[in-house]
């Protein structure tokens, strides 16, 4: 598995898209800091980008890579290598290289602008950690979709639909249900509904750390009580981890059963 991981990783590292992705974050980081000159404010703006873009790019990259390397995968399958190792290797290769681009692309400008001396370092680390989680989650989901669909167009469609659902439609449904059931106590509901969507969960986690939690009012107080404590933080990290593990399990299950 490690060998395949290494191969996938280096393949991606050498590819143009990895650089584009890296340069994009690098430029974003520098521009934000240049315009804001305030590390903690830049972190807030960055959050908006990260919450939307990372899942999208993770999804598209994952599907694309799977379909592109399909012939190579079939070649590997002919060798006496464990099936799980092949797919896991590819998965970690893609997710790892994307995460590396993210961490380096954002890390370099922030470190240059004196992040280490500012007290925003914890917020920034949290931002990167959730970013990494989101990358792993969405690459995993896209791999599962790709392996389940022979048809490339269908696979792409489903993957983009999945992103659209979790990033936009889910919030729309969430909002509708909050308004429809406004007569009822909605604290627990909103807590659970947030935890079920990794994008929402990441957003709330970062928001609560960014000192605008008081904005959230009464509901925010409940969120703060849950996510703000060490236990809540651990729970939400555990949920994110679960979100990462589930697609991986699905992937290995699918890979084992699939008839190539």
């Amino acid at each position: 598995m490690l060998k395949i991981l290494k191969y996938s990783f280096y393949d991606l590292i050498r590819s143009r898209w990895s650089y584009v992705y890296f340069l994009f974050y690098l430029a974003l980081g520098f521009v934000l800091l240049f315009l804001n000159n305030d590390v903690s404010k830049a972190v807030i703006t960055l959050m908006n980008v990260i919450i939307v873009l990372i899942p999208l790019i993770g999804t598209i990259f994952g599907v694309m890579y799977y379909y592109n390397s399909r012939e190579f995968t079939e070649l590997l399958l002919a060798q006496p290598i464990n099936r799980r190792a092949i797919f896991m290797g590819q998965y970690f290769g893609v997710a790892g290289s994307l995460t590396l681009s993210l961490v380096l692309g954002l890390g370099i400008p922030f470190v240059l602008y004196g992040l280490l001396r500012s007290n925003a370092i914890f917020d920034f680390t949290l931002l990167l950690v959730t970013g990494a989680f989101l990358t792993f989650i969405f690459v995993g989901l896209s791999f599962v979709i790709a392996i389940s669909n022979e048809n490339k167009i269908k696979g792409f469609g489903y993957a983009v639909l999945l992103w659209l659902f979790l990033a936009v439609v889910y919030d729309g449904l969430f909002l509708m249900s909050l308004i429809v059931f406004e007569e009822y106590p909605l604290d627990t509901f909103s807590l659970v509904a947030t935890a079920l969507n990794p994008i929402d969960l990441s957003r709330i986690l970062i928001l609560l750390k960014l000192d605008i939690s008081a904005l959230l009012g009464y509901t925010g107080a409940i969120f703060k009580k849950f996510f703000g404590t060490d236990l809540g933080f651990l729970v939400s990290m555990a949920i994110l981890l679960l979100w990462t593990i589930l697609p991986i399990l699905g992937l290995s299950l699918k890979a084992k059963r699939k008839d190539f």
Partner: protein
């Protein structure tokens, strides 16, 4: 030989007044109070003293309470003597005109659930001066009751209030008029400065911070001015309620941050002027309810959750020349009706252009987001703050307003920040 000694009339006048000043101690004497002196009790010395005498309290600890000042006296501490009420009740009670209290350290006011015990209470008196006092471990600090024409200057009031029900206010004015409250520092009380039925009060250069409830609280008080004060980190900010003709200028409202905290809360305020103030990092900058004919000019709203939140029934207000910088919501409205004017403000989230280069944007700015509407209706939806879905909806509402008042817009938004 006759010695002629001509005196110029002006010189005569000066000499005469000098004689008068030098002569005045003949009628007004000075009493020294210290632990080992002839006079060691403040209370007893006040009883002995005559009107217009001066009492000098030397350094030391005086365990006395319910000290009644019932004649015009100057009571002055030398080196901050401590007057310890031992939590037994009220400490100073002034019940005479022309009383001066200066430089005392007053501690341990008795907490009562039936009486509003104060460190210093002034009752039905005029022309008093309370200055350079330090009040600690108090219930109520300075309580002015039906008094007028006095001055409360440069006092430090430091409470340790924990609960609202067993704590008092720092400076309280009740049915008092024409009083100047200047350069005081109040912290850790229930309401920092509280006015009830008090007219023509001037409140300037005070600092009110870390109070349980409001930094400054107005009730039924008209024609008052407060300017250049700083209100910071109070439980609920500043509340101005049921008052008319109030002028609020150049104050700073900072860090009133919490689920029920406002920079300033306006309720039933008419004909006021709010200008040159800075609202920074408050959950809600100004919360307005039932307030009419108010001029909001040249204020700065920086990094607030809501810069201005209009609850309802606010007519003929004008918002001009304000800076709205990086607030999560600039304006929040809960009705479809708008009778207020927004003009010539700077909005940091304005994205229009200025083709004729006159410094005014060519496209009007709509400060009300649809999201703030939704949040007003169902507060729980705030959970969706900063989500992509909300941004999309806000954008579409901005392009063609359906829910927000059509005429609620700044037709002349500034391109550059007002300095």
């Amino acid at each position: 030989m006759h010695l002629k000694f001509p005196l110029h009339p002006t010189l005569k006048y000066i000499l005469g007044s000098l004689l008068f000043i030098m002569g005045s101690p003949i009628w007004a004497s000075t009493w020294n109070i210290c632990r080992d002196c002839e006079h060691s009790s403040i209370k007893k010395t006040i009883a002995l003293a005559k009107a217009h005498d001066t009492l000098l309290i030397q350094k030391g600890i005086y365990k006395e309470f319910e000290i009644l000042v019932d004649k015009p006296l100057v009571i002055k501490g030398i080196g901050y003597p401590i007057v310890d009420g031992e939590k037994k009740g009220e400490i100073f009670r002034v019940q005479s005109d022309n009383v001066t209290l200066d430089g005392l350290f007053v501690i341990n006011v008795g907490i009562s659930y039936t009486k509003d015990n104060a460190a210093i209470r002034v009752v039905q008196s005029k022309d008093f001066l309370i200055q350079n006092m330090v009040l600690e471990q108090l219930f109520f600090g300075i309580y002015l009751e039906k008094s007028s024409h006095g001055k409360v200057y440069h006092n430090r009031i430091i409470g340790e209030a924990v609960d609202e029900y067993n704590s008092g206010n720092g400076i309280q004015l009740w049915y008092s008029t024409d009083i100047e409250v200047l350069k005081n520092h109040v912290q850790g009380t229930r309401d920092g400065i509280y006015l009830e039925f008090s007219d023509r009060i001037t409140i300037t250069y005070n600092t009110s911070m870390d109070n349980l409830r409001y930094g400054l609280h107005f009730m039924f008080s008209n024609h008052d001015v407060y300017s250049n004060n700083t209100f910071e980190n109070n439980g609920a900010g500043v509340a101005v309620m049921f008052s008319k003709f109030i002028t609020m200028k150049n104050n700073t409202f900072r860090k009133n941050w919490g689920t029920a905290a406002y920079g300033m809360l306006l309720k039933e305020i008419n004909d006021a002027e709010i200008s040159g103030n800075t609202f920074e990092e408050n959950t809600i900058g100004i919360n307005i309810e039932g307030s009419n004919r108010i001029q909001y000019h040249n204020n700065d709203f920086i990094n607030n959750g809501w810069a201005i939140r209009v609850i309802g029934a606010c007519y003929t207000n004008s918002f001009k020349g304000n800076n709205f910088l990086y607030n999560s919501f600039d304006i929040s409205y809960n009705s479809k009706l708008n009778d207020n004017v927004f003009e010539g403000n700077f909005w940091s989230s304005y994205t229009g252009y200025d083709l004729d280069r006159d410094g005014i944007g060519d496209v009007p700015y709509r400060p009300v987001k649809l999201f703030s509407y939704v949040v007003n209706r169902t507060p729980e939806t705030i959970v969706l703050l900063r989500s992509l879905f909300m941004d999309i909806i806000d954008f579409s509402e901005r392009v063609s307003p359906v829910f927000t008042p059509d005429n609620l817009k700044d037709a002349q938004p500034l391109m550059k920040i007002r300095r």
